[in-house]
Symmetry: C2
Subunit: 468 residues, 2 copies
C-alpha cells in the first residue's frame, strides 16, 4: 500500500460529519475483540485516524472516492459489537461509521428494505408497528447491533431454529453495495453473488441498502426450563425443534453450573447441578408446547415471560443465549473465553456429549439448536476456562480430531474464523471492487498472502498501533 | 346394536332441518369412495334414512340425544369429499350434516376458532381479510371440503412441506367435542387427547368447534417446472425443501407422462417424457428460488402464476397435487386408482426410485415432499393402473417388503387405512363417548371385532344397502 495522506483526506471531507477527537475515535476503533484473550493481546490499542459518518449513499461514495485518492484505509463500522476485531482498523485510517444511515425505507408483506445502520431492534419496531412483522433472524445483540454489521460480520442467531443461517438461500434478498474505486460503482447484488459480500467483514464493498425477508411478529413467550440431566435437556431441545408443527424461535441448552454461576437473575431459581434450557415459543404454540413437554419427565418450567413472579425481571431470554452467554460468564469470571463449534446434523447429541466428557468443566457446553440444511443440528458457543494459547489450540485440535468443526473466534481474519481456506468468490470480488486493497485491510489472508499455510496464527504486517 | 327406530327419531326432530327426500339423502350418503374400485364394489348403494343439518351445538346435542334414545346410527358429514367411504353411513340411519355450522368465530394473531362446517377456503378468506393470515395446512379439496372433515378424516396436504402433518403437535390447538350418550357431554380437548378424535372418522364424538394455528397469508407464486430426468426432479424438490430459508408451501413431483396424459391444460406445454414439478413459493422467496433453481441444469420453469401467457388458465397448481392428481387421472382413464405410500426420511429418493423401477408404468410415481419429524420426507399418492384386487394386494405387499409403508385407500376402516393396528386412544374414547357404538358404525374394527387378524379385508356385518 502507498502511504495514506490522512490530512488531505480529512481536508477533502470537511463538509461531512467527520470526527477526529482522540477519545471518540478510539472508542469507535474498538469492538468486542476483547472476548478473546488471544486477540486482546494483539489488537489492543489499534486506532483509526478519524471517523466519518455519511448521511446517505452519496456521501458514502464521496468518502470512498476521497479515501481511494489519498490511499486511506477504510474500515466500516455498524455498532462495533463484533467479536473478532472485525471492525478494528488494523492499519489505521478511516472508520466509516454508518450510524446515521438508519432508515427503514420500505415494508411489504414478507420483506423490508432498510439502510445498513438501522439497529435490529429498530427494524423490528417499525415492521411490527407497520404490519405485525419482524425479521427472521437476529444476533443476540438485537438491541445494539446494526443490520449491516449483522450481514457483513454475523452468522445467524435467534430464529435460526426455524430459518437456518443468515447465508442460507432466502435469508437475504438483495444488497446494494458501493465499491472502493476511483469512481465508486453502485451494484445491486442478489442470488449467488450475495456470498461475495455477506460475511466479508466489509473487505470488498460497503453495503448501503439491504432487502431481507420478514416473518410474522408474535408476542413470543420466553421460557427457562431446568433439567437434572444434560442429555435429556439436549434431547428435549432436539426433539422440540424436530416438531414441524411447533413454532419456536430459540432453543438453547446450558450445561450446569452455567446458569447458577453466571446468570445472576436466574441463579436464585436453580441449583448448581441444574441444566437450563432457554426457549422462545409462539403464544399460539404454548398448548402444543405443554403437550410436548409433558412427554419429558425431567422438564421443569421455572420461568415464562407471560406469567411469573420473579422479583427481578431477567430481561429477554435471548440475551442469555448465543454470544450473550459468553458475555455473562466473562463478567463474572474474566478468565472465561469461548469457542464456536459445529456439531452438525448426523448425531449431534453424541458429539456434544463426547466433548463434554473430554473437557467438562474446563469447557462448559452451551449449545444452540438450529436448522441446518433441512435437518435439526447443533452448534456450540462453548465456555472455555482460559489457561494459555497453547492449551486453547490443543482444545481446538482435539475437537477437530473428533469431527466437531471449529470456527475459531480467536482470529481476526476471515479465513481463520471460517474454514481456513480462501473464499474465491470474496477474493475475486475484492479484486474487482477494492483494487487498492484499502477496505478493512488485514482481514483477508488470501489478499495479503495467497500462499499462507495456516500452520500458525496469521499476523498482519500492517498492524499500526496508536503509539506509533 | 338394537334395531333403530327411525320413524320415532325423525318425529322427535321435526323442529330441526331434516331431509328425507330420497334423491338428496342418497347424494349426502356418498363421498369419493368410488376412487377405489375395491370400495366401489362394496359401498355402492349404501344410504342413510335421513339427513339432519343442525344450526348450532345445541341442536347437535339434541340430535345425538334423540338418536341415542332411538338407537339410530349417526354418520357425520362435512362436505363428503373423503376417499375411503369415511362419510358413508354403512348401517343407514342419520347423516348429521354440518353444512350450516360454518362460522368463523374468532381470529387472533396466529390462530382462529371456527365451526366444523366451514369450508377451508372460507376460513382463508376470512383470516386473510381480517389480518393477512391463512391456515397452515389444507387438503387439496380446499375449495370444497370442510375443516371438520379435514380434521376428522384428512391427514395433511398443502403446507405440509413446512408444517408437517395435521396431527403433528402444534397443528391443532383445541377441539370441542360432543359425545353420543343419553345426556351428551361437551368436552374441550387439547394436548395428547387430540389424538382421540382427530382422524377418528367421527366414530367417537362430533367436533363442534375447532381452534387451529394460522400462518401469514402471502400471494403464493404457483409454478410448474419440467425436467427430463425423474431423479433430478426428485432431488431438486428434496433439496429445495431442505433450504430452511426458503418459504414454500408445496413441492410435488409427477413422473412422466402424468402431466402429458392427465393434466389437460398443462399438456400443450410438455412432452410425454417430461417429469413435472408443482410448487408454491412465497413472493418474497422468488429471488432465492431463482438462485436455487439455477443450480439445477434440468429445471425449466414452464408456468408461473404471476407471469404467464397460457391461453387457458390452469387453476391452482395445488389442484393438480395431493389427491387431485388421482382425480385428474381418473377422469381421463377410469381404470386408474391409487395407493398412499410413505417413503420416510432416511433415503426417500432411493426408495421412490426402487418402486419406480419395479412398477413403472403400471404404477406411476406422484410424490409429495413434506417435513416429517424435523426432516425432509416423501410420500406418494401413486397412480395405479388397476387390473384386479389380487394384483393390487400384491403391489401393496411388494411395497411393504421393500420398506415403503402403505396406507391403504382401498379399505373403509380406520385400522386398514392406517397401520393395521388398534389405536387404543381412539378405542378407549369410543367406549366413553359412544357406549352404544352408534357413531359411524363399521369404521373401527377394534370396536366391532377386537380379535380381527387383518389376514383379509374387513367386511362390516352391518352393511345395509338401500334395496334391503
Ligand atoms: C454479546 C454478544 C452477542 C453476540 N451474538 C451474536 C449472535 O447471536 N449472532 C451473530 O451472528 N453475532 C453475534 N455477535 C456478534 C455481533 O454482535 C453481530 O454479528 C452483530 O450483528 C454485528 O453488528 P454490528 O453493527 O455491531 O457490526 P460491527 O461490529 O460494527 O461490524 C461487523 C463487521 O461488519 C462490517 N460492516 C458493518 N457494516 C457494514 C456495511 N454496511 N458494509 C460492509 N461491511 C460492514 C464491519 O466492517 C465489520 O467487519 C455477538 C456479539 C456480542 C458482543
Ligand atoms: C380430489 C381430492 C383431493 C384430496 N386431497 C386431500 C389432501 O390433500 N389431504 C387430505 O388429507 N385429504 C384429501 N382428500 C380427502 C378429503 O377431501 C379431505 O380429507 C377433506 O378435508 C375432507 O373434508 P370433508 O368436509 O369433505 O369431510 P367428509 O368427507 O365429509 O368427512 C370426512 C370424515 O370426517 C368425519 N367428520 C366430518 N366432520 C366431522 C365432525 N365435525 N366431527 C366428527 N367427524 C366429522 C366424517 O364422518 C368422515 O368420516 C382429497 C379428496 C379428493 C376427492
Amino acid at each position: 500500500m502507498t502511504a495514506p495522506n490522512i490530512a488531505a483526506a480529512i481536508e477533502a471531507m470537511s463538509h461531512l460529519e467527520v470526527d477526529t477527537k482522540p477519545a471518540s475515535v478510539k472508542t469507535k476503533s474498538r469492538d468486542f475483540f476483547w472476548y478473546s484473550p488471544v486477540l486482546k493481546d494483539r489488537l489492543d490499542g489499534l486506532v483509526a485516524d478519524f471517523v466519518v459518518s455519511p448521511r446517505n449513499e452519496a456521501e458514502v461514495i464521496e468518502v470512498l472516492k476521497i479515501c481511494y485518492e489519498h490511499d486511506v484505509p477504510v474500515t466500516t463500522r455498524g455498532a462495533g459489537t463484533g467479536n473478532y476485531g472485525q471492525a478494528i482498523p488494523l492499519a489505521g485510517g478511516c472508520v466509516l461509521h454508518l450510524n446515521l444511515m438508519n432508515a427503514v425505507k420500505e415494508i411489504h408483506p414478507g420483506r423490508t428494505i432498510v439502510e445498513p445502520g438501522c439497529l435490529l431492534k429498530d427494524i423490528d419496531a417499525a415492521t411490527k408497528e407497520h404490519s405485525g412483522q419482524e425479521i427472521r433472524l437476529f444476533s443476540s445483540t438485537w438491541a445494539t447491533a446494526t443490520i449491516g454489521g449483522f450481514i457483513a460480520g454475523g452468522s445467524g442467531g435467534v430464529g435460526g431454529v426455524r430459518w437456518g443461517g443468515l447465508r442460507d438461500v432466502g435469508n437475504i434478498i438483495r444488497l446494494r453495495v458501493v465499491t472502493m474505486e476511483a469512481e465508486p460503482r453502485v451494484l445491486e447484488i442478489t442470488g449467488e453473488e450475495l456470498h461475495r459480500v455477506s460475511h466479508a467483514y466489509g473487505t470488498n464493498g460497503i453495503i448501503t441498502e439491504i432487502e431481507i425477508p420478514l416473518a410474522p411478529a408474535y408476542d413470543w413467550v420466553e421460557l427457562f426450563l431446568s433439567f437434572k440431566d444434560f442429555t435429556e435437556a439436549l434431547t428435549y431441545c432436539y426433539d422440540l425443534v424436530g416438531c414441524d408443527g411447533m413454532l419456536i424461535k430459540l432453543a438453547t441448552v446450558f450445561e450446569a453450573p452455567i446458569a447458577k454461576d453466571y446468570f445472576q437473575r436466574v441463579a436464585p431459581y436453580v441449583e448448581a447441578d441444574d441444566v437450563v434450557v432457554a426457549l422462545m415459543v409462539a403464544p399460539h404454540a404454548m398448548s402444543g408446547f405443554q403437550t410436548f413437554s409433558a412427554r419429558y419427565d425431567g422438564a421443569d418450567v421455572i420461568y415464562r415471560s407471560d406469567d411469573h413472579d420473579w422479583a427481578r425481571h431477567p430481561g429477554h431470554v435471548f440475551e442469555y443465549a448465543w454470544n450473550h452467554t459468553t458475555l455473562r460468564a466473562l463478567k463474572v469470571d474474566p478468565s472465561i473465553t469461548y469457542l464456536q463449534v459445529g456439531y452438525g446434523t448426523d448425531d449431534p447429541i453424541s458429539l456434544v456429549n463426547k466433548m463434554r466428557e473430554m473437557f467438562s468443566p474446563e469447557v462448559l457446553q452451551h449449545v444452540e439448536v438450529t436448522r441446518q440444511g433441512g435437518r435439526v443440528g447443533m452448534g456450540g458457543l462453548s465456555l472455555v476456562k482460559f489457561s494459555d494459547e497453547a492449551r486453547l489450540d490443543e482444545i481446538v485440535a482435539l475437537h477437530e480430531a473428533e469431527g466437531a468443526m471449529i470456527f475459531n473466534p480467536h482470529r481476526y481474519t476471515l479465513e481463520e474464523g471460517g474454514r481456513q481456506s480462501t473464499d474465491e468468490r470474496q477474493l475475486e470480488f475484492k479484486r474487482e471492487a477494492d483494487p487498492k486493497g484499502l477496505l478493512n485491510p488485514g482481514k483477508m489472508i488470501a489478499w495479503d498472502d495467497p500462499d499462507w499455510g495456516y500452520d500458525q496464527m496469521y499476523a498482519y504486517p500492517g498492524l499500526r498501533k496508536a503509539a506509533e
